[in-house]
Amino acid sequence: MSRTAVIVFAIVVVLFAVSWVAKAVVLSDTSDSGTLDAFLVTVAAFLTLAIYSFLYKDNPYYKFAEHLFVGVSAAFWMCQGFWTTIVGNLLPRLSEGMANWFMQPYQPGGYDLGFLNLSYTVLYWIPVILGLLLLMRLSPKGGWLSRWPLALIIGTTAGLNFVRYLRSDFIVQVSSTFVPLLGQEPHQWQGIGAFFSNFSLDASGQFVALLANWVIFIGVFCGLVYFFFSKEHTGLFGRASRVGIWVLMITFGASFGYTVMGRISLLVGRLTFLFEDWLGLIT
């Protein structure tokens, strides 16, 4: 450790110690566990500032927060998964004894396939075995067995996605492009004055709605042309694809601009924590 680093470290320690004491004094009026609460708020503030220090450059405080975050979050997810899925959903179906031991209502059941009567208990052991096969990954020799559960997951999801996206992102979206372009009901031409005074999509009719429909149609068409891989982008085709990429770029720019606000809100949230909960500058 260099000399500056030691000095900085000392200053940081002193500052946060002072913050803890000051906060504890303030909180002791209202709460019994003021000292502990003050400590926790100070820790949270320290970690917040440690992450922000990364904006200046990488430093030991950021590294500390980063490594702590990784460990704690992994454990958090493990505990959550254990209690909700294993104890909450799996064990009560595996066996009655286990359900009783974990004080969960036993969930028996089964299905008569006609030629074969299956019970839940048997069927839920299969994923358990497959899950254990996944752990075979850790053994140098049995690693290939871990592909079985993987195959089940990937196959099932692929099958699901195949039909689901064909329906939701393809058939439904295609039929959404079937919009009036020529001005049949409910979009009736109401004159140029109405057009300019009501320059928005929700207008109860208007040329604008029609114009919007035309733009959407042309935009979708050109966008799809841009994503066409098997033809060189030359001539008329090339021109359409250029329009397509323009529309895409306009959209991306607009989305970017639209997002700024959300990101600023996040910062507002953190600064509010620092100024209000920690420093008490605002109420």
Binding site: L55, Y56, W77, Q80, G81, T84, T85, G88, N89, P105, Q107, R164, R167, S168, V172, Q173, S176, S200, L201, D202, T251, A254, S255, Y258, T259, V260, M261, G262, R263, I264, S265, L266, L267, V268, G269, L271, T272, F275, L281, I282
Partner: protein, 305 residues
Amino acid sequence: MNNIGIIISLVLIFGGLLWLLIRSIGGHEVDRRVIFLFIFLSVAAPVIFRITFQEKATPVVEALFDRIENLPPGSNVLLSFDFDPAMAPEVQPMANAISRHCLNNGYNVVFMSLWATGQSLMTTTLSRVILPEFPELVDGVDYINIGYKAGNEGVLNVIVSDFRKMFPTDVNSVPLDSTEIFKDIKSCADLDLIIALGGGRPGPKEWVLFVGDPADVPVGVGVAAVVAPQLYPYYPQQIVGILGGVKGAAEYEQELTSHHERFADMDTPGIDMMGPQTLAHVVIMAFIVIGNIVYFRSRGKGGKS
């Protein structure tokens, strides 16, 4: 005191921007840390010195507000809190406003979450903020909190045909069968409106694809601003209305406070948050201008040499 603070911070920000602008004409790039500092100032100053203003609802927000406002009393509405604390500053104000709105209008409200982190947020919101305002409502009759289950889209796949398979009990371990509110609700098809609050995955899009479409239930969404444009293709056929980011929340709050006297004095975190937004947007736009000046100056020089 406040006024002095505002003046000082505004002078700092705009003076600094002016100086950078002048520098940029000389072709000097701005260090990213300077940009960071300006963003910090432009957000911190309004947070400390509070600035608010009026909002006007856009059609997508109005559509959702009207849909909720015009449901018949006793309708079954589901609110799903699919967000984590990181997204909360954006989504929580909408969650509060919509929860208040639904409970006030006498709907049967089911609260749930697809995110582990959403459950605690939801429970806290309900017990600390919303429910104390509605002492007349009864748990299990007027509203119910069925909590969180792991499984993401899997959960949706199950509840679209049967709630009880995934949620045998509510968050307080009361069996759903014994609650008044779930007498008429078997699956998602029995809901009159689903409101998905979130922005990640699983989130609003999954609600539309896995529940709204197959069960034919209208879905309204409240999302982080970043996700909102992505949901537009689903509006108005598959989604009835969209609240995007704090702006959407602020507009909804404005609608709610102006339509219901009861809420005239409620907290309006969305509206409050628009102050820092304004300054930060100005600063970012200023930097875009500065960046372009630098670019054209340096290109001019590069062309000559």
